[in-house]
Amino acid sequence: MPDATGLELTAHELRDRNAESILDTNFHRGRAELRVAPAHVVDVLTGLREKGYTFLASLHGVDYYPEEPRLGVIYELLNMHEVDRLSVNARLHTDDPRIATATGLFPGAEFPEREVYDMFGVVFDGHPDLRRILMPEDFEGFPQRRDFPIGGEPVLFTYNEEKSYGKWQ
Protein backbone atom coordinates (compact mmCIF):
# COMPACT_ATOMS: atom_id res chain seq x y z
CA MET A 1 0.00 0.00 0.00
CA PRO A 2 1.19 3.51 -0.61
CA ASP A 3 0.93 5.50 2.63
CA ALA A 4 -1.11 8.72 2.83
CA THR A 5 1.81 10.79 1.54
CA GLY A 6 2.49 8.42 -1.30
CA LEU A 7 -1.16 8.60 -2.27
CA GLU A 8 -1.02 12.42 -2.41
CA LEU A 9 2.12 12.27 -4.53
CA THR A 10 0.47 9.87 -6.93
CA ALA A 11 -2.59 12.11 -7.11
CA HIS A 12 -0.35 15.09 -7.88
CA GLU A 13 1.39 13.27 -10.68
CA LEU A 14 -1.94 12.32 -12.19
CA ARG A 15 -3.24 15.89 -11.85
CA ASP A 16 -0.19 17.10 -13.73
CA ARG A 17 -1.15 14.73 -16.48
CA ASN A 18 -4.84 15.71 -16.53
CA ALA A 19 -5.95 18.45 -14.16
CA GLU A 20 -9.59 17.38 -14.00
CA SER A 21 -9.08 13.70 -13.50
CA ILE A 22 -8.67 13.35 -9.72
CA LEU A 23 -11.57 14.62 -7.62
CA ASP A 24 -10.41 13.48 -4.22
CA THR A 25 -8.18 11.08 -2.34
CA ASN A 26 -9.16 8.90 0.56
CA PHE A 27 -6.84 7.01 2.89
CA HIS A 28 -8.87 4.90 5.25
CA ARG A 29 -7.76 1.97 7.38
CA GLY A 30 -4.62 1.50 5.37
CA ARG A 31 -6.36 1.48 2.02
CA ALA A 32 -5.51 4.11 -0.55
CA GLU A 33 -8.28 5.24 -2.83
CA LEU A 34 -8.49 7.77 -5.64
CA ARG A 35 -11.85 9.31 -6.44
CA VAL A 36 -11.79 10.07 -10.15
CA ALA A 37 -14.08 11.80 -12.61
CA PRO A 38 -15.77 9.10 -14.68
CA ALA A 39 -15.01 10.95 -17.91
CA HIS A 40 -11.26 10.66 -17.31
CA VAL A 41 -11.01 7.20 -15.84
CA VAL A 42 -9.08 5.75 -18.77
CA ASP A 43 -6.57 8.61 -18.46
CA VAL A 44 -6.03 7.79 -14.80
CA LEU A 45 -5.71 4.08 -15.43
CA THR A 46 -3.19 4.70 -18.21
CA GLY A 47 -1.13 6.95 -15.94
CA LEU A 48 -1.17 4.41 -13.13
CA ARG A 49 -0.25 1.60 -15.45
CA GLU A 50 2.77 3.55 -16.63
CA LYS A 51 3.67 4.07 -12.99
CA GLY A 52 3.81 0.31 -12.45
CA TYR A 53 0.25 -0.63 -11.49
CA THR A 54 0.13 -3.17 -14.27
CA PHE A 55 -2.31 -5.67 -12.82
CA LEU A 56 -6.05 -5.12 -12.54
CA ALA A 57 -6.86 -7.40 -9.61
CA SER A 58 -10.58 -6.69 -9.57
CA LEU A 59 -13.23 -4.51 -11.10
CA HIS A 60 -16.54 -4.28 -9.36
CA GLY A 61 -19.62 -2.18 -8.80
CA VAL A 62 -21.15 -0.79 -5.62
CA ASP A 63 -24.46 0.91 -4.92
CA TYR A 64 -23.98 3.57 -2.21
CA TYR A 65 -27.72 4.03 -1.93
CA PRO A 66 -28.44 7.18 0.07
CA GLU A 67 -25.37 8.95 -1.29
CA GLU A 68 -25.29 10.64 -4.67
CA PRO A 69 -23.93 9.81 -7.17
CA ARG A 70 -25.17 6.37 -6.22
CA LEU A 71 -23.27 3.90 -8.34
CA GLY A 72 -19.57 3.27 -7.99
CA VAL A 73 -17.22 1.42 -10.31
CA ILE A 74 -14.10 0.39 -8.45
CA TYR A 75 -10.84 -0.71 -10.02
CA GLU A 76 -8.39 -2.49 -7.73
CA LEU A 77 -4.88 -2.11 -9.11
CA LEU A 78 -1.75 -3.91 -8.04
CA ASN A 79 1.86 -2.87 -8.52
CA MET A 80 3.63 -6.19 -8.58
CA HIS A 81 7.15 -4.80 -8.25
CA GLU A 82 6.56 -2.82 -5.10
CA VAL A 83 3.54 -4.86 -3.94
CA ASP A 84 1.38 -1.78 -3.74
CA ARG A 85 -2.36 -1.78 -4.04
CA LEU A 86 -4.51 1.16 -5.07
CA SER A 87 -8.25 1.56 -5.55
CA VAL A 88 -9.70 3.80 -8.21
CA ASN A 89 -13.29 4.77 -7.55
CA ALA A 90 -15.51 6.39 -10.17
CA ARG A 91 -19.01 7.49 -9.13
CA LEU A 92 -21.96 7.56 -11.53
CA HIS A 93 -25.56 8.72 -11.37
CA THR A 94 -28.27 6.11 -11.89
CA ASP A 95 -29.83 7.99 -14.80
CA ASP A 96 -27.73 7.04 -17.81
CA PRO A 97 -24.69 5.58 -16.03
CA ARG A 98 -21.92 5.51 -18.64
CA ILE A 99 -18.19 5.06 -18.35
CA ALA A 100 -15.40 4.24 -20.79
CA THR A 101 -14.24 0.65 -20.93
CA ALA A 102 -10.89 -0.45 -19.50
CA THR A 103 -10.58 -3.41 -21.86
CA GLY A 104 -8.13 -1.48 -24.05
CA LEU A 105 -5.68 -1.33 -21.16
CA PHE A 106 -6.57 -4.52 -19.31
CA PRO A 107 -8.13 -7.17 -21.55
CA GLY A 108 -9.11 -9.12 -18.43
CA ALA A 109 -11.62 -6.39 -17.58
CA GLU A 110 -14.03 -7.74 -20.17
CA PHE A 111 -15.93 -10.18 -17.95
CA PRO A 112 -15.93 -8.04 -14.79
CA GLU A 113 -17.35 -5.16 -16.81
CA ARG A 114 -20.07 -7.41 -18.14
CA GLU A 115 -20.85 -8.42 -14.57
CA VAL A 116 -21.07 -4.80 -13.42
CA TYR A 117 -23.37 -4.11 -16.35
CA ASP A 118 -25.48 -7.13 -15.46
CA MET A 119 -25.83 -6.31 -11.77
CA PHE A 120 -25.81 -2.49 -11.72
CA GLY A 121 -26.64 -1.40 -15.25
CA VAL A 122 -23.45 0.55 -15.82
CA VAL A 123 -22.83 0.85 -19.57
CA PHE A 124 -19.19 0.56 -20.57
CA ASP A 125 -18.64 2.53 -23.78
CA GLY A 126 -16.36 0.73 -26.21
CA HIS A 127 -16.77 -2.68 -24.62
CA PRO A 128 -16.43 -5.39 -27.31
CA ASP A 129 -19.36 -7.54 -26.15
CA LEU A 130 -21.55 -5.94 -23.52
CA ARG A 131 -24.18 -8.54 -22.65
CA ARG A 132 -25.57 -9.97 -19.43
CA ILE A 133 -23.23 -12.57 -18.00
CA LEU A 134 -24.95 -14.08 -14.94
CA MET A 135 -28.65 -13.42 -15.29
CA PRO A 136 -30.75 -14.74 -18.17
CA GLU A 137 -30.61 -12.52 -21.24
CA ASP A 138 -34.28 -11.57 -21.02
CA PHE A 139 -34.02 -10.58 -17.36
CA GLU A 140 -35.41 -7.15 -16.58
CA GLY A 141 -33.75 -4.80 -14.14
CA PHE A 142 -30.41 -4.77 -12.38
CA PRO A 143 -30.68 -6.98 -9.32
CA GLN A 144 -27.81 -5.66 -7.20
CA ARG A 145 -29.15 -2.11 -7.11
CA ARG A 146 -30.55 -1.24 -3.73
CA ASP A 147 -33.98 -0.36 -5.07
CA PHE A 148 -34.42 -3.78 -6.65
CA PRO A 149 -36.88 -5.95 -4.67
CA ILE A 150 -35.19 -8.78 -2.79
CA GLY A 151 -37.82 -11.48 -2.92
CA GLY A 152 -38.72 -13.41 -5.99
CA GLU A 153 -41.09 -16.32 -6.34
CA PRO A 154 -43.85 -16.96 -3.82
CA VAL A 155 -43.29 -20.16 -1.90
CA LEU A 156 -46.03 -22.75 -2.00
CA PHE A 157 -47.38 -23.64 1.41
CA THR A 158 -50.65 -25.26 2.25
CA TYR A 159 -52.41 -21.94 2.81
CA ASN A 160 -51.59 -20.52 -0.62
CA GLU A 161 -51.28 -23.69 -2.66
CA GLU A 162 -54.61 -23.20 -4.41
CA LYS A 163 -54.32 -19.48 -5.03
CA SER A 164 -50.72 -19.26 -6.08
CA TYR A 165 -50.00 -19.17 -9.76
CA GLY A 166 -47.61 -21.46 -11.48
CA LYS A 167 -48.04 -24.64 -9.48
CA TRP A 168 -47.21 -27.49 -11.74
CA GLN A 169 -50.39 -29.44 -12.45
Partner: protein
Amino acid sequence: MEVKREKLGPASAPDDFRARQLLSRDMLRGDLEGEALERYVEQSIMTTTVEKAVRWSQGNSIYPMTFGLACCAIEMMSIVGARVDIARFGWEAFRASPRQADLLILSGRVSVKMAPVIRRIYDQMLEPRWAISMGACCSSMGVFNNYALVPSDKFMPIDVHVPGCPPRPEALMHGILRLRDKIQGHGRDGWRERYDAVGTEEVFGEGDSSHDGAINVFPGGDTAGA
Protein backbone atom coordinates in the same frame (compact mmCIF):
# COMPACT_ATOMS: atom_id res chain seq x y z
CA MET B 1 -46.90 -62.10 28.50
CA GLU B 2 -47.24 -65.78 29.02
CA VAL B 3 -44.90 -67.85 26.97
CA LYS B 4 -46.21 -71.23 25.92
CA ARG B 5 -43.70 -73.88 25.03
CA GLU B 6 -44.70 -77.27 23.68
CA LYS B 7 -43.02 -79.83 21.58
CA LEU B 8 -44.15 -80.17 18.00
CA GLY B 9 -45.76 -83.54 17.88
CA PRO B 10 -47.35 -85.62 15.18
CA ALA B 11 -50.35 -83.24 15.35
CA SER B 12 -48.45 -80.62 13.40
CA ALA B 13 -47.34 -83.12 10.81
CA PRO B 14 -48.92 -81.36 7.75
CA ASP B 15 -46.59 -78.41 8.39
CA ASP B 16 -43.66 -80.69 8.54
CA PHE B 17 -41.13 -80.14 5.81
CA ARG B 18 -40.81 -83.83 4.97
CA ALA B 19 -44.57 -84.18 4.76
CA ARG B 20 -44.87 -81.24 2.39
CA GLN B 21 -42.09 -82.66 0.31
CA LEU B 22 -43.93 -85.91 -0.09
CA LEU B 23 -47.14 -84.05 -0.83
CA SER B 24 -45.58 -82.12 -3.69
CA ARG B 25 -44.05 -85.33 -5.06
CA ASP B 26 -47.52 -86.82 -5.09
CA MET B 27 -48.88 -83.72 -6.81
CA LEU B 28 -46.24 -83.81 -9.51
CA ARG B 29 -46.93 -87.48 -10.08
CA GLY B 30 -50.61 -86.67 -10.49
CA ASP B 31 -51.74 -88.68 -7.47
CA LEU B 32 -53.43 -85.83 -5.69
CA GLU B 33 -57.12 -85.48 -6.39
CA GLY B 34 -60.20 -83.80 -5.15
CA GLU B 35 -60.09 -82.07 -1.83
CA ALA B 36 -56.43 -82.83 -1.22
CA LEU B 37 -55.48 -81.14 -4.47
CA GLU B 38 -57.63 -78.12 -3.67
CA ARG B 39 -55.95 -77.77 -0.30
CA TYR B 40 -52.53 -78.14 -1.85
CA VAL B 41 -53.17 -75.38 -4.41
CA GLU B 42 -54.59 -73.10 -1.75
CA GLN B 43 -51.43 -73.48 0.33
CA SER B 44 -48.86 -72.91 -2.35
CA ILE B 45 -50.20 -70.13 -4.58
CA MET B 46 -50.22 -66.41 -3.87
CA THR B 47 -52.49 -64.30 -6.01
CA THR B 48 -51.77 -60.68 -6.91
CA THR B 49 -52.25 -58.37 -9.86
CA VAL B 50 -49.62 -57.72 -12.48
CA GLU B 51 -49.80 -54.06 -11.65
CA LYS B 52 -48.96 -54.66 -8.02
CA ALA B 53 -46.09 -56.98 -8.88
CA VAL B 54 -44.66 -54.47 -11.33
CA ARG B 55 -44.93 -51.67 -8.81
CA TRP B 56 -43.25 -53.81 -6.20
CA SER B 57 -40.30 -54.42 -8.49
CA GLN B 58 -40.17 -50.80 -9.66
CA GLY B 59 -39.96 -49.60 -6.09
CA ASN B 60 -37.03 -51.89 -5.42
CA SER B 61 -34.95 -51.14 -8.49
CA ILE B 62 -34.77 -47.39 -8.97
CA TYR B 63 -31.88 -45.91 -10.92
CA PRO B 64 -31.29 -42.39 -9.67
CA MET B 65 -29.81 -39.81 -11.99
CA THR B 66 -26.21 -38.76 -11.38
CA PHE B 67 -27.06 -35.16 -10.82
CA GLY B 68 -26.02 -32.71 -8.13
CA LEU B 69 -26.74 -29.02 -7.90
CA ALA B 70 -25.09 -27.70 -4.75
CA CYS B 71 -24.11 -28.58 -1.20
CA CYS B 72 -27.04 -31.00 -0.79
CA ALA B 73 -25.34 -33.14 -3.41
CA ILE B 74 -22.58 -33.91 -0.91
CA GLU B 75 -25.18 -35.34 1.45
CA MET B 76 -26.77 -37.16 -1.45
CA MET B 77 -23.47 -38.81 -2.35
CA SER B 78 -23.07 -40.19 1.14
CA ILE B 79 -26.26 -42.26 0.91
CA VAL B 80 -24.39 -44.51 -1.51
CA GLY B 81 -21.73 -45.15 1.10
CA ALA B 82 -21.65 -47.87 3.70
CA ARG B 83 -23.35 -46.00 6.54
CA VAL B 84 -26.75 -45.43 4.97
CA ASP B 85 -26.42 -47.93 2.22
CA ILE B 86 -28.90 -47.20 -0.53
CA ALA B 87 -27.94 -50.47 -2.21
CA ARG B 88 -30.02 -52.29 0.40
CA PHE B 89 -33.08 -51.11 -1.49
CA GLY B 90 -31.75 -51.68 -4.98
CA TRP B 91 -31.33 -47.96 -5.68
CA GLU B 92 -27.59 -47.81 -5.87
CA ALA B 93 -26.96 -47.71 -9.62
CA PHE B 94 -26.62 -44.00 -10.33
CA ARG B 95 -27.06 -43.47 -14.05
CA ALA B 96 -25.24 -40.75 -15.94
CA SER B 97 -27.85 -40.52 -18.67
CA PRO B 98 -31.43 -39.33 -18.15
CA ARG B 99 -32.57 -41.99 -20.62
CA GLN B 100 -31.60 -44.70 -18.17
CA ALA B 101 -32.66 -42.99 -14.97
CA ASP B 102 -35.96 -43.26 -13.11
CA LEU B 103 -35.40 -40.73 -10.37
CA LEU B 104 -34.19 -37.16 -10.36
CA ILE B 105 -32.94 -35.93 -6.98
CA LEU B 106 -32.83 -32.14 -7.09
CA SER B 107 -30.07 -31.58 -4.58
CA GLY B 108 -29.51 -27.88 -4.18
CA ARG B 109 -30.65 -24.49 -5.35
CA VAL B 110 -32.20 -24.05 -8.79
CA SER B 111 -31.44 -20.74 -10.44
CA VAL B 112 -33.62 -19.13 -13.06
CA LYS B 113 -31.08 -20.06 -15.69
CA MET B 114 -30.77 -23.66 -14.48
CA ALA B 115 -34.53 -24.35 -14.37
CA PRO B 116 -34.99 -24.92 -18.13
CA VAL B 117 -31.98 -27.23 -18.14
CA ILE B 118 -33.45 -29.33 -15.33
CA ARG B 119 -36.83 -29.37 -16.97
CA ARG B 120 -35.19 -30.66 -20.13
CA ILE B 121 -33.37 -33.41 -18.25
CA TYR B 122 -36.63 -34.37 -16.59
CA ASP B 123 -38.39 -34.47 -19.95
CA GLN B 124 -35.68 -36.73 -21.33
CA MET B 125 -36.25 -39.31 -18.63
CA LEU B 126 -38.48 -42.23 -19.55
CA GLU B 127 -41.77 -42.94 -17.84
CA PRO B 128 -42.32 -43.94 -15.15
CA ARG B 129 -40.16 -41.35 -13.46
CA TRP B 130 -40.04 -39.69 -10.10
CA ALA B 131 -38.45 -36.64 -8.57
CA ILE B 132 -37.30 -35.77 -5.08
CA SER B 133 -36.82 -32.15 -4.11
CA MET B 134 -34.04 -32.19 -1.55
CA GLY B 135 -33.32 -29.37 0.85
CA ALA B 136 -34.82 -26.00 1.62
CA CYS B 137 -33.49 -24.14 -1.44
CA CYS B 138 -35.11 -26.42 -3.92
CA SER B 139 -38.50 -26.55 -2.20
CA SER B 140 -38.87 -23.01 -0.90
CA MET B 141 -35.59 -21.29 -1.88
CA GLY B 142 -34.35 -21.30 1.72
CA VAL B 143 -31.76 -18.68 2.51
CA PHE B 144 -31.41 -17.72 -1.14
CA ASN B 145 -34.95 -16.43 -1.47
CA ASN B 146 -34.18 -13.70 -3.98
CA TYR B 147 -34.33 -12.73 -7.62
CA ALA B 148 -32.02 -15.50 -8.81
CA LEU B 149 -33.82 -18.67 -7.72
CA VAL B 150 -37.01 -20.49 -8.57
CA PRO B 151 -38.70 -23.23 -6.47
CA SER B 152 -38.84 -26.58 -8.19
CA ASP B 153 -42.62 -26.97 -7.90
CA LYS B 154 -42.96 -24.21 -10.44
CA PHE B 155 -41.54 -26.07 -13.38
CA MET B 156 -41.84 -29.80 -12.75
CA PRO B 157 -43.84 -32.27 -10.65
CA ILE B 158 -42.17 -33.31 -7.40
CA ASP B 159 -43.11 -36.50 -5.58
CA VAL B 160 -41.29 -36.06 -2.28
CA HIS B 161 -39.93 -32.96 -0.58
CA VAL B 162 -37.12 -33.56 1.90
CA PRO B 163 -36.68 -30.57 4.23
CA GLY B 164 -33.38 -29.54 5.75
CA CYS B 165 -30.46 -27.30 5.04
CA PRO B 166 -28.95 -29.57 3.96
CA PRO B 167 -30.91 -32.67 5.01
CA ARG B 168 -28.86 -35.33 6.70
CA PRO B 169 -28.39 -38.53 4.67
CA GLU B 170 -30.82 -40.23 7.05
CA ALA B 171 -33.44 -37.65 6.16
CA LEU B 172 -32.93 -38.25 2.46
CA MET B 173 -33.10 -41.97 3.14
CA HIS B 174 -36.43 -41.43 4.87
CA GLY B 175 -37.66 -39.51 1.84
CA ILE B 176 -36.48 -42.28 -0.42
CA LEU B 177 -38.33 -44.90 1.60
CA ARG B 178 -41.41 -42.72 1.46
CA LEU B 179 -41.09 -42.58 -2.29
CA ARG B 180 -40.72 -46.34 -2.39
CA ASP B 181 -43.95 -46.68 -0.41
CA LYS B 182 -45.60 -44.31 -2.82
CA ILE B 183 -44.39 -46.23 -5.87
CA GLN B 184 -45.53 -49.51 -4.39
CA GLY B 185 -48.98 -48.11 -3.89
CA HIS B 186 -49.17 -48.04 -0.12
CA GLY B 187 -47.93 -44.54 0.46
CA ARG B 188 -48.56 -43.34 3.94
CA ASP B 189 -50.75 -40.34 4.38
CA GLY B 190 -49.32 -36.97 5.17
CA TRP B 191 -48.43 -36.02 8.71
CA ARG B 192 -51.76 -34.29 9.23
CA GLU B 193 -53.65 -37.53 8.69
CA ARG B 194 -51.18 -39.54 10.72
CA TYR B 195 -51.28 -37.26 13.72
CA ASP B 196 -54.98 -36.61 13.33
CA ALA B 197 -54.31 -32.94 12.70
CA VAL B 198 -56.60 -32.19 9.78
CA GLY B 199 -57.98 -28.69 10.05
CA THR B 200 -54.89 -27.15 11.57
CA GLU B 201 -53.72 -25.49 8.36
CA GLU B 202 -52.46 -21.93 8.54
CA VAL B 203 -55.35 -19.50 8.29
CA PHE B 204 -55.11 -15.87 7.31
CA GLY B 205 -57.84 -13.26 7.45
CA GLU B 206 -59.97 -12.47 4.43
CA GLY B 207 -58.49 -9.08 3.68
CA ASP B 208 -54.93 -10.12 4.45
CA SER B 209 -53.25 -10.25 1.09
CA SER B 210 -49.73 -9.77 2.39
CA HIS B 211 -49.05 -13.50 2.15
CA ASP B 212 -50.38 -14.05 -1.35
CA GLY B 213 -47.41 -12.78 -3.24
CA ALA B 214 -43.74 -13.34 -2.80
CA ILE B 215 -42.40 -13.10 0.67
CA ASN B 216 -39.68 -10.50 1.25
CA VAL B 217 -40.98 -8.32 -1.55
CA PHE B 218 -41.27 -4.69 -0.67
CA PRO B 219 -43.39 -2.14 -2.49
CA GLY B 220 -41.59 -0.15 -5.14
CA GLY B 221 -39.16 2.39 -3.72
CA ASP B 222 -39.20 0.82 -0.27
CA THR B 223 -35.64 -0.24 0.41
CA ALA B 224 -36.17 -1.17 4.06
CA GLY B 225 -34.98 -4.68 3.45
CA ALA B 226 -32.02 -3.72 1.33
